[in-house]
């Protein structure tokens, strides 16, 4: 570890994880002097009956839910946010709880900026560290669908990116009743995003012990629990662990530069509408392989997180990197039913793939060239359909 290099690390969130976590929300709200949260949920929450559980959790507390908006669609839309501001003020709310996955969280973050900073057009805040005053208390209750973005310090609204430490949720409440998996495919996709973020955060040349604690924990969780979840989606413990992993990966992601697989995955998602989780999952093994080939360091702690102490200790030092690549491949293979093995099976036209590489280079946050990205993409394209 190059501890000489300066690093800074931050994570705002407090995690409540486990049985009856929801019932702890009122007391947490209290520690912020908040008593009237506005709840923002995605459409599916009501449908899958989670709303009932959530509301019941507030019984016998002195917290009144100022409003339960459960109509967030596929993306965080500025119009929704503006409407929610009216609701927020009308009910005199003093805090925000986001329930569900991505869009709800982003909407909540947008609303929080709007109501806390009193701006009229949040797009003036676009970019990094544009906020300098704390926002209103913001809690999140992720469900199974939420992925490695949602609990990060970033919000994406209408393709505008907002990044600030004040956008971290104050409390992340992981309750097995909420994180239960009902769509395993979706769960796998989000786990893959988390895995990508975690791996690339721990691999990135700027890793530091603090961030490692998070990313390695996330990786370990996923490697231990994704297979369990695949075997039995009803397994609540595994589901909870995956949700936890997502939350931790989000932190690692917030404190490290985005990696190649992440950048390419997003570009492909934008161009073709394929799920980012799928794209990243396909690209990740090849991206890491490429990095190793470029001997951009990939550390053997990784194997420790993937395979546990005994496996790591019993593997001779020089083989560890190879081994952890195999471990990754093994994991992907176990999820083959939901995540195809190569880009070919997504049938993306070559000219779009090139465009993706070009956009990835333009984003420039990882310092790879168009050629590098193309090699990764081509490897991913050629890979055998069965692992």
């Amino acid at each position: 570890m190059q501890k000489k290099a300066f690093y800074s690390f931050f994570n705002q969130s407090k995690y409540l994880a486990g049985a009856r976590a929801l019932e702890h929300i009122p007391i947490e709200l209290h520690s912020y002097d908040a008593v009237r949260p506005l709840v923002i949920a995605t459409k599916d929450v009501t449908a899958s009956g989670l709303k009932k559980i959530f509301v019941k959790a507030f019984y016998d507390s002195d917290v009144t839910i100022g409003g339960f908006y459960d109509n967030v669609g596929g993306t965080a839309a500025i119009s929704t946010i503006k409407e929610l501001r009216i609701l927020f003020h009308d009910r005199g709310c003093d805090s925000i709880i986001a329930l569900g996955h991505g869009p709800a969280m982003d909407t909540a973050k947008g609303l929080n900026m709007l109501v806390s900073l009193g701006v009229d057009d949040i797009f003036t805040l676009e970019g990094e560290d544009t906020i300098s005053t704390p926002l209103k208390p913001f809690f999140t209750v992720p469900t199974a669908g939420s992925c490695g973005y949602d609990m990060s310090n970033m919000a994406v609204i209408e393709h505008h990116r907002f990044k600030s430490d004040f956008l971290f949720p104050d409390v992340v409440c992981l309750d097995p009743r909420m994180t239960g998996i009902n769509d395993i495919g979706r769960a796998v996709e989000s786990a893959m995003v988390a895995l990508t973020h975690a791996m690339e955060a721990s691999d990135s040349t700027m890793h530091n012990p603090m961030n490692d604690a998070y990313s390695l924990a996330a990786i370990q969780f996923i490697h231990e629990n994704l297979p369990r979840a695949l075997k039995c989606p009803r397994n609540r413990e595994a589901a909870l662990a995956l949700a936890y992993a997502n939350a931790l990966a989000a932190v690692a992601f917030s404190n490290a530069p985005a990696g190649a697989a992440h950048i390419l995955g997003e570009a492909l998602n934008k161009l073709t509408g394929n799920d980012p989780g799928v794209c990243m999952a396909i690209l990740l093994p090849h991206a890491t392989e490429f990095m190793v080939g470029k001997d951009i360091l990939m550390r053997d702690e990784l194997l420790l997180a993937q395979a546990g102490m005994d496996a790591h200790a019993s593997t001779p030092e020089k083989d560890r990197i190879k081994e952890s690549e195999n471990q990754l491949k093994k994991l992907m293979a176990s999820a083959i039913k939901y995540v195809p093995a190569n880009l070919k099976s997504l049938r993306i036209p070559p000219y779009l793939i090139e465009q993706a590489a070009r956009e990835a280079e333009a984003s420039g946050s990882h310092g790879l060239t168009f050629k590098d990205y193309m090699t990764i993409l081509n490897n991913a394209g050629k890979a055998p359909a069965v692992r």
């Binding site: 501890k3 000489k4 290099a5 300066f6 690093y7 800074s8 690390f9 931050f10 994570n11 705002q12 969130s13 407090k14 995690y15 409540l16 994880a17 486990g18 049985a19 009856r20 976590a21 702890h24 209290h30 520690s31 912020y32 002097d33 560290d129 300098s132 005053t133 704390p134 430490d165 530091n208 012990p209 603090m210 490692d212 604690a213 998070y214 390695l216 924990a217 370990q220 969780f221 231990e224 413990e237 909870l240 662990a241 936890y244 931790l248 102490m309 005994d310 790591h312 200790a313 019993s314």
Partner: protein, 424 residues
């Protein structure tokens, strides 16, 4: 990884770490639009010339930050009167942020001051208790000068009321410092012995965090990393104090351990350690390093596997792989004992491994044998015991302390064992 039925975790402190971490303070404070900082510290730190370094660092060119005032009379255990008076200084000089340079008491004082100046009022005791503070406070930067206590990561402040002879505790997540600065220059001047036991202090935090009742996934990984860093660097840091890299590593380890133990509470070692410190005024870290092996032995039957796992970060994969699973817990404990011995060598015997050979400056014994019952009694009233996997009654305490006094391993048969294999 063990995922407990229910657990909470919060590491809400921005960490700046590196050879030039201090220089980053102005920028970070600027983000929180703060312009004028009050520096709180104590004489020791001042005389070690650390304040000079800090001042130079934060007033380097380009920084908008000015130093409003420096208060360096913080007593070894923080007093509420001091807090109130410092608060008035802060107000008079109308500062808008606090930089605390020093150990636990300095930071506790700073936390108290921060409460007063942010929430108003002129007596800090009005805010004592759990969760009395419910708002974000003014920016507070913690610059630890001993790589060990990890107090820069804790949400508790203990402020004494010497008139009534009580210690008021203040507990709130808003008491966490906004920024913790880990800069090797701050720990460079520590003498070997102190480096040794503060290091072991951090080690103890981490190890106990790893097997005590409040453990949770994140406390595990942080503790794991901390142990790794300490066992890799402590000897080096003691032998050649100038080695910035291992100094920084130790500082990081302390911070990580701080996160770990403030989230998963700590047990017997701290319990007895606190008591011993309170009764015989032995430095915290010394007790820690002595009690650590006993703490593990005492809980062996409940959390043996976890203790076994600890061999990995302590001794490294090779030894771990060589040792068969059944012998790992034992090996871990022996390793810690061994480490203590080595430190004893490295510090020329100043690093004690048994209570009886702790000596003060005049070289007379600090923990007399007849103090043991008093310590045991005192320990019954210390919170840490709650989180120890195994129940500890008065007699248990006596038994453990005696062993530690003698400095010979615990007789496992003597331990009253509850149900095996702790569930989390």
């Amino acid at each position: 990884m063990i995922l407990p039925k229910y657990s909470e975790f919060c590491g809400r402190v921005k960490t700046l770490s590196g050879a030039s971490a201090l220089e980053a303070i102005p920028g970070e404070l600027k983000k929180m639009n703060s312009k004028k900082a009050l520096i709180i510290t104590d004489k020791g730190v001042e005389s070690a010339g650390l304040i000079k370094i800090v001042k130079e660092a934060i007033s380097k060119k380009g920084s908008k930050l000015t130093v409003g005032a420096i208060y360096d009379e913080t007593p070894p255990d923080s007093d509420y009167k001091v807090v109130n008076s410092v608060a008035s200084i802060y107000r008079n000089k109308n500062c808008d942020s606090i930089i605390a340079v020093g150990g636990g008491s300095v930071l506790d004082t700073a936390k108290g001051v921060n409460i007063l100046v942010s929430l108003g009022g002129d007596n800090v005791l009005a805010y004592s208790g759990a969760g009395a503070v419910k708002q974000r406070l003014k920016p507070l930067v913690a610059v630890p000068t001993t790589a060990g206590t990890g107090s820069e990561m804790t949400l508790v402040a203990v402020i004494a009321d010497h008139d009534r002879h009580i210690k008021m505790t203040f507990v709130s997540y808003f008491l966490l410092p906004d920024i913790a600065v880990l800069d090797p220059r701050m720990t460079k001047t520590l003498p070997a012995s102190i480096t040794a036991f503060t290091g072991m202090d951090a080690m103890t935090h981490a190890i106990e965090a790893y097997f005590c009742l409040g453990k949770n996934p994140m406390s595990d990984t942080t503790a794991f990393k901390a142990i790794q860093l300490v066992s890799k660097n402590i000897l080096n840091a003691v032998k050649n104090p100038g080695d910035m890299e291992s100094r920084l590593a130790m500082a990081n380890a302390a911070a990580l351990a701080g996160i770990a133990f403030s989230n998963s509470m700590v047990g017997l070692v701290h319990n007895l350690g606190h008591a011993t410190g309170a009764v015989c005024h032995v430095p915290h870290g010394v007790c820690m390093s002595i009690y650590l092996p006993y703490g593990m032995e005492y809980n062996l039957h409940k959390v043996g596997d976890l203790i076994g796992e600890l061999l990995y970060p302590l001794a490294g994969p090779e030894i771990f792989a060589k040792t068969p699973k059944k012998q790992r817990p034992r090996a871990t404990i022996d390793y810690v004992r061994g480490l203590n011995e080595e430190l004893k060598k490295a510090t020329g015997g100043r690093h004690a491994t048994a209570l009886k050979d702790i000596l003060d400056r005049e070289g007379k014994q600090m923990v007399p044998r007849d103090a043991i019952p008093v310590i045991a009694k005192n320990a019954m009233g210390d919170g840490a015991k709650t989180y120890n996997p195994e129940e500890q009654s008065f007699d248990d305490n006596i038994m453990v302390i005696e062993a530690a006094w003698e400095g010979k391993p615990l007789d496992l048969k003597k331990i009253k064992k509850g149900p095996k294999n702790q569930k989390f």
